[in-house]
Amino acid sequence: MTRLLKILEYGLSSLARRKFKNFSIIAIYSFTIAALASILLLTHSLKEIAVNVLADGPDIVVQRLTGGRHDLIPANYTQGIEQLAGVGRVTPRIWGYYYDSLYQTNYTMLGVQQDMPQLEMVEGRMVVADGECTVGQGVATAQNAEIGNELLLINSAGIGSTCEITGMFKARSNLWTNDLILFTKDDLQRFFATPAGLATDITVEVFNPKEIPVVAQKIRQLFPDTRPVTINEILHTYESVFNWRSGMMLTIFASSLIAFSILAWDKATGISGEEKQEIGILKAIGWDTGDILALKFSEGSVISVTAFLLGIFFAYIHVFLLGAPLLVPVLKGWSVLFPPLHLVPYVNMYQIFTLGFLTIVPYMASTVIPSWKSAITDPESIMRG
């Protein structure tokens, strides 16, 4: 133990002799790990939030396809679906998008039943009558509106239509409701001029979750022009959107890994003449190959472990305490109403250990292998260069 500590002490002195170079390596190395870990933490957290909350979403959403594209669905399809065994409530939905040219933002509009209960996430009250609406925080901010104000929107006939804001979704539900405006179903049907008897899609409740795929298959057989989207498919979408292979992960991961590879390659392709000479001198004064490898291993560990811990520390602070300000512009894209991110600190230890394995081991290998090559060479020829 004492021997190892002494080797570590010597390794630290050796690193201190090349202070600037080694601090630069630690800084770049920890930056690379912080970038990689930030993406892992951010995407994992979003995935966990999505999967945990969406688990209570509709069991099946039935869309009608016309010419391979989503089309309005006859509301009387509900009668056929209700007849299927194991099916509970079948509800036709009216919803759609609205582009506000004044504020250049897109809103999502959803029609709800007038008997909708008061929800905890709504400040004020839910819509209960025509001419009323409940809006998300993003919509309220864009329109500079408050509860009690009138919201002016242009309907599909091109005529201005107003609604009174009776409620506002709380900021804690921003991830779901930031761009949402709720109306009564009849009101929204008139606003979009949706023909009577048609709906945007139909949600289906299935009593036994194990029967969802069977019910979806039956709906497809009953109405061949429909596409049932099951809750598992919805959850699967969010699992794939935020997984390791997603576009964002791949892009930043690839560039960070390339940067890291350049760093490791630089180390692996050879050690400096000064370092070779040092190994030669140590061999000449009686250090054996094992000691030199232990020394180089300790030097590599000092740099990689320090950089890894610093990287993870900064990534956590960046994502969960600061709200990922460096990643939000990448995530945001052209989304004008992007909700402020208040992420739940979900950390997947498996991902962190994998990241550690993928970054620490190659760096250690690239430090030890060239040193081992020098250590097994004759000290005199090393010192002569």
Binding site: D56, G57, L180, V241, K332, W334, P339
Partner: protein
């Protein structure tokens, strides 16, 4: 051994900080689960929401779960993506629906 002590102290400090962050993570999750998960699930259940309101620029980025399979890159094959979010969202392939069924054999014949 001054350098070793200094280095080990720094590592210990970093480990303690990470342990504190881990407590922060546990606490944050607990608070979210007890205070926000249920009302958010209630919201999703009552309004039948299917997607996160993250990307509002296009139909298929606002509702990736309900988008047509071919919605991204819909202008022509291999066209450049219109919206940055389209590069972030990975194409999702249908989940594997294969299942293995193991049944008990009674009276010498499989049920």
């Amino acid at each position: 051994m001054i350098r070793t002590r200094f280095f080990l102290s720094c590592i210990a400090l970093l480990l303690i900080s990470l342990a504190l962050l881990s407590l922060h993570s546990r606490h944050g999750k607990q608070v979210w689960i007890t205070q926000e998960l249920t009302p958010n699930r209630e919201l999703v259940a009552h309004l039948a929401l299917t997607d996160l309101a993250l990307w509002t620029e296009a139909r298929y980025t606002r509702h990736p779960a309900l988008a047509d399979f071919f919605a991204p890159f819909q202008d022509f094959p291999a066209s450049f993506e219109h919206f940055p979010a389209g590069s972030i969202i990975a194409p999702h392939l249908p989940a594997v629906s294969t299942t293995l069924r193991v049944r008990r054999i009674t009276d010498g014949s499989p049920q």
